[in-house]
């Protein structure tokens, strides 16, 4: 059994290594090459060119402000919401659960577009409405600015920050606070001297993850930053490879190297912090309900704030897209607007061969990619959890490496690789890229499924007289099924809306949904964009709801 296991381990290291290390290696080699056609001729020209570009300084400043601003916004909001949910008597607590899941169903690209539709300076719906209502001379808001980008990205990263901070706050040992109160500190003093410092690792982890995500973010900078000429690294990089005739993959690789290095470093810090926060947070007070702070008069306004946030995060984007898909051109909702509603945008999208091709490609990538990804994840998770060796530790590090990959950067790396192969400009290039980049999302549910299968469950079947094959069929596979299903759905829903990698690798003939939506945005075809966007949200939502239901069933089975 032992030699078979180590063969499997090395085989998986080879596969996962090829998927994750290869694009990084090609990115590095590419950054020292003259161009896609002159791969391997060593030069440092691209670095000199990329980093001495006078625009680069401005890009760096913008990126820093964007990344820090949006992470601060998302972390602050997350602390606020987590505290309200876990520690106060705020009503309608189920809203918080929805707030942390729903935004996963609305792709970042569409969320950005909906805010552009609401607050753009020429005909943003909310802007026009406010102008009419208060008879203003000019539009009150301009989303096409650094501030607008920070707002939208901050809202997008809020759920993930909340998912990190809320459990830490929920598991917080309230006796730490109580002893501070007994020692004579006020509630506020206790919050700042005890509660927040104890939660610091979780808060920092949420902040750093926000930084990594906004650094990798492409949808917000492209949809909201570009019209306002606010360039950040992601869009700066994209311009080098997408616009005009002078695409320069060497220069893009040179810039990408530093983005990748920053991202990997931050993820290493993040993983150290989450390990730290697990150590820090004490769960000793199980069975005790944490003291609930009564909000009193502040209850209604605070709830209003939460309700407004939920509205902004969930209802508004979908409503705007649906509305825009039905009206002939941008106009403030009115009786006249509703009377003019028709399905012309839907008809033109459903009659557009490229949109249909994109839909077909995305569905294929979701089904085939998630299936292959889950098969790979099952084996990788098995080795990580059940085979404890130095090689399996290496496999674990390798497979979580891509967690820190900014899609667009790794897309450039893959580009350098695929150009050397016949896979270039085929759907298989996208398939491989997707699996490599999103592998951790498949491995995570699988490894928690494997962790739940205590080795005794397997061993007792053997002792009962069942052969290893019977044990596999009757014990292991049935216990794994929920993990397999939720891993598949999670990966499929990510693949349906994939943008950042696709935007680099997609070529005529291999369009996918998100790329097609971006094209509509660039051409200002908001109606068609909205119609196609609703289709995408529908597919994505169906998958996430299915995943939640499977997850809930699994938890019920595991409970008690």
């Amino acid at each position: 059994m032992a030699p078979a296991r180590s063969t499997l381990t090395y085989l998986l290291i080879a596969i996962v290594g090829a998927l994750t290390v290869c694009p990084v290696l090609m990115l590095a080699l590419g950054s020292f090459s003259e161009g896609l056609t002159a791969f391997g001729d060593f030069t440092v020209d691209k670095y000199v060119e990329a980093y001495s570009d006078p625009a680069f300084l401005e890009v760096m400043v913008n990126t820093t402000l964007f990344v820090l601003g949006s992470s601060t916004l998302s972390t602050t909001l997350a602390i606020f919401l987590a505290y309200l949910n876990t520690r106060t008597d705020i009503p309608f607590k189920f809203l918080f659960g929805i707030l942390s899941i729903i935004p996963m169903m609305i792709p970042h690209l569409l969320f950005s577009v909906s805010w552009a539709l609401l607050l753009n300076p020429s005909n943003g719906l909310l802007n026009l409405g406010l102008m009419q209502a208060f008879s203003l001379e000019s539009v009150p808001f301009n989303i096409y600015s650094l501030g607008g980008m920070i707002l939208v990205e901050g809202l997008l990263d809020l759920p993930i920050a909340y998912l990190i901070i809320a459990p830490a706050m929920g598991a917080f040992d309230v006796t730490l606070e109580e002893s501070s109160r007994v020692a004579g500190a006020s509630a506020w003093r206790t919050l700042f001297r005890v509660t927040l410092p104890v939660l610091r690792p979780a808060i920092l982890a949420a902040f750093i993850l926000g930084v990594v995500r906004s650094l990798a973010s492409f949808a917000v900078p492209q949809v909201i930053g570009m019209p306002g000429r606010v360039h950040v690294l992601a869009t700066h990089l994209y311009e080098m490879i997408a616009t005009g005739f002078a695409t320069d993959y060497g220069k893009a690789a040179a810039v990408g190297m530093s983005v990748l290095a920053a991202s990997v470093t931050l993820i290493v810090v993040y993983r150290a912090l989450t390990a730290e926060s697990e150590k820090f947070v004490t769960v000793s007070s199980r069975g005790f309900r944490p003291t609930v702070i009564e909000l009193g008069k502040a209850r209604t306004p605070l709830f209003g704030a939460v309700a407004l946030l939920s509205f902004m995060l969930i209802v508004l984007p979908v409503a705007v897209l649906l509305y825009t898909s039905l009206v002939p051109y941008s106009m403030v909702p009115s009786a006249r607007a509703f009377s003019m509603m028709d399905l012309r945008h839907w008809a033109s999208v459903l009659g557009d061969p490229i949109s249909l091709l994109a839909l077909k490609n995305s569905l294929f990538l979701a089904v085939a990619g998630a299936t292959l990804g889950v098969v790979l994840s099952v084996f990788v998770a098995y080795v990580i959890v059940k085979v404890k060796s130095r090689a399996s530790g290496l496999l674990e590090s390798l497979s979580y490496l891509s967690f820190s990959f900014p899609g667009i950067v790794i897309g450039v790396g893959f580009m350098w690789f695929f150009v050397q192969t016949p896979l270039y400009a085929t759907i298989w290039a996208l398939l491989l890229g997707y699996i490599a980049t999103y592998l951790p999302y498949g491995i995570r549910p699988m490894s928690s499924a494997f962790i739940q299968i205590h080795s005794h469950l397997e061993e007792s079947s053997l002792v009962c007289g069942a052969s290893p094959m019977t044990t596999m069929r009757r014990i292991i596979v049935p216990l794994l099924v929920p993990g397999i299903v939720s891993g598949w759905i999670l990966m499929a829903s990510m693949f349906v809306r994939e943008l950042t990698l696709s935007v680099v690798l997609s070529r005529p003939g291999t369009e996918v949904l998100a790329v097609q939506i971006l094209r509509f945005a660039e051409d200002g075809l908001w109606g068609r964009l909205s119609a196609l966007g609703i289709v995408m949200i529908f597919i994505s939502t169906t998958l996430v709801v299915a995943a939640t239901l499977v997850g809930a069933r699994f938890r019920i089975a595991e409970a008690a």
């Binding site: 061993e459 007792s460 069942a466 595991e558």
Partner: protein, 361 residues
């Protein structure tokens, strides 16, 4: 069925070092007994159990169960666990969460291809035996700890194995339930006439359950005997110390008198249970706290009369626990609650030579 273990060793390699989990174990477990492997954690008891059941492969030696060799390094025999026909109760119970009680218990019969109606009868019988009748359709996850334990026992017994193995099966239960389950288990096993191998680190559990106990340390068997033998007449200091609370005092053998071995110790001259130790050699005198008898009033100076002073006295319910100072030694004693004594009082006590053990250093 008798289990014979000959020269079994098992090594683990970690960070360049070799750890001997089992170090040349020779052991014969007699048929139809409850045989306990007792020792501190890391002594190799669980590894030995897993070697018997076939979940671990020893590096050397031979294991046979009821005359059939199931493992032999030399002969190259290795019977996999599913072919050994044993029953086992795991520490975690290992109840399969995706099956109900009936399927969990029926599993060993199902994989043997037993016909359905026979399975139903056997499961019903065994569930009645462990007092879980009517629980067939209950999902495995909806059971309490004690019920899971009984399902695990039923599953181990349903195929009527000749040997059943237990790996610390009571350690996940709370104290009260543990005591009840221990009594039940003893009753079940005695009724069944089955060879049971039981692993635990809990000395009370071992004493209460077993017909024989093997005490293990660092991959080796130190001593084997009945619970009484292990508790009262241990040969090794480690065993005497591990199995119960003991006062251990250094002593030197001086003479053989009237069938007793007489030693000089800080307590004075003490007559002990006979041991074949040469005069003049050193040994350890082991006295259990409950065998220190306080004598009140004037007593004739006689054999094993010791004078001391009470250093501390703690009431723990059924007795006082006293620390008695004799010279430089402090002895732990259990004193009846009705003896009127206070801290600082001078006391005399006697030691029955039958309960003064000399153990190897």
């Amino acid at each position: 069925m008798e289990i014979r273990i000959r020269g079994v060793s098992k090594y683990y390699y970690s960070e360049g070092k070799t750890i001997k989990a089992l170090d040349g174990v020779d052991l014969t477990i007699p048929a139809n007994q409850i045989f306990t492997l007792l020792g501190p954690s890391g002594c190799g008891k669980t590894t030995l159990l897993r070697c018997i059941v076939g979940l671990e492969m020893p590096d050397t030696g031979e294991i046979s169960i009821g005359g059939d060799v199931v493992w032999s390094k030399e002969k190259g025999i290795s019977v996999p666990p599913e072919k050994r026909g044993l029953g086992m109760v795991f520490q975690t119970y290992a109840i399969w969460p995706h099956m109900n009680v009936f399927d969990n218990v029926a599993y060993p019969l199902q994989v043997r291809g037993v016909p359905g109606d026979v399975i139903r009868q056997s499961v019903e019988k065994i569930l009645r035996f462990v007092q879980l009748q009517g629980f067939e359709r209950r999902p495995a996850t909806k059971l309490s700890g004690g019920q899971q334990q009984r399902v695990a026992l039923a599953r181990a017994l349903v195929a009527e194995p000749k040997v059943i193995l237990f790996d610390e099966p009571l350690s996940n239960l709370d104290a009260k339930l543990r005591e009840e389950t221990r009594k039940e288990l003893r009753a079940f096993l005695t009724e069944l006439k089955i060879t049971a191998v039981y692993v635990t680190h809990d000395r009370v559990e071992a004493l209460a359950l077993s017909d024989s106990i093997a005490v293990m340390r660092a991959g080796q068997i130190v001593e084997i005997g009945t619970p009484q033998k292990i508790y009262f007449d241990a040969d090794h200091r480690f065993v005497a110390d591990f199995i119960g609370r003991a006062n251990l005092v250094k002593a030197v053998v001086r003479a053989e008198e009237d069938g007793h071995t007489v030693v000089d110790s800080p307590l004075g001259r003490i007559a002990c249970q006979h041991r074949d130790i040469p005069v003049g050699s050193e040994a350890t005198l082991c006295i259990r706290p409950e065998f220190i008898r306080i004598v009140s009033g004037e007593q004739p100076a006689g054999a094993n009369l010791v004078n001391g002073r009470i250093e501390s006295l703690v009431f723990v319910g059924e007795v006082y626990e006293a620390e008695i100072r004799v010279g430089e030694e402090r002895l732990l004693a259990r004193i009846d609650p009705d003896v009127r004594l206070g801290e600082g009082d001078a006391v005399s006590f006697t030691l029955d030579p039958a309960h003064c053990l000399l153990v190897a250093l």
